[in-house]
Amino acid sequence: MTPSPLEQRNPYKGGPPRGWIRVGLVDPAGVVEGVDLLADTGSPFLVIIGLARLQRFLFTPAPSLATNYGRLRGGRIRVVIPALAFDRIILGHGSDAVITDVRKSHPDFAGLVGLPFLRLMRYGGDADWFWIRPAGAASP
């Protein structure tokens, strides 16, 4: 299947099958690392990654927050999705407990994006694929 222009389309992976997206994390020096993030509309956080990765990509610390996974450390991180021309510094969180659970779905996952992140764009899926498009993109 050929993705539309300005779209990222990924087959589900993991057990149970999970939608996911690939983003670039950019550190303050401009070094980029691509990571796969599980898409979880049940999460009220923009992005959650491991504590070491949060520290590596941190621009500034931000307030932490208590959750059912324990305390999540806050920090502002730069996230890019070149296919969508998406490039923003956003409020991220770090938690190794969350990442341990994320990797039970699939070891490739370096974290998760929650509903607030997905609401910055259009997102959807069908039986085989999960996709994201820019906020202003036309429906399929």
Partner: protein
């Protein structure tokens, strides 16, 4: 002071200063807290970050927050903890 101690001190200062921050700065402005006070503020994070660098501060040694944004005391990550079984499992 270790990084951990600095972070805890800045978080405690932010909690204490939050009512003043919300009253002083327009909603959505970004503020930087360090040394028990607001050390910089700007309309965007990028402007705040540039101001911190221009002032010779290490941005990793301050805490930044948005004015007027309420943070819940506790949040649940629901979807991640759900494991499918039975009919729901493909």
């Amino acid at each position: 002071m270790t990084d951990e101690q600095r972070l805890e001190a800045n978080e405690a200062a932010y909690e204490r200063l939050k009512p003043m921050i919300d009253q002083t700065y327009p909603k959505g402005w970004f503020v930087a807290v360090a040394d028990d006070q607001v050390v910089a503020a700007a309309a965007t994070f990028e402007e705040l970050y540039a101001a911190l660098k221009a002032a010779g501060r290490d941005p990793r040694e301050v805490l930044t927050a948005e004015a007027g944004v309420e943070c819940p005391g506790h949040a649940d990550i629901i979807g991640l903890s759900i494991r499918s079984g039975g009919e729901a499992q493909a």
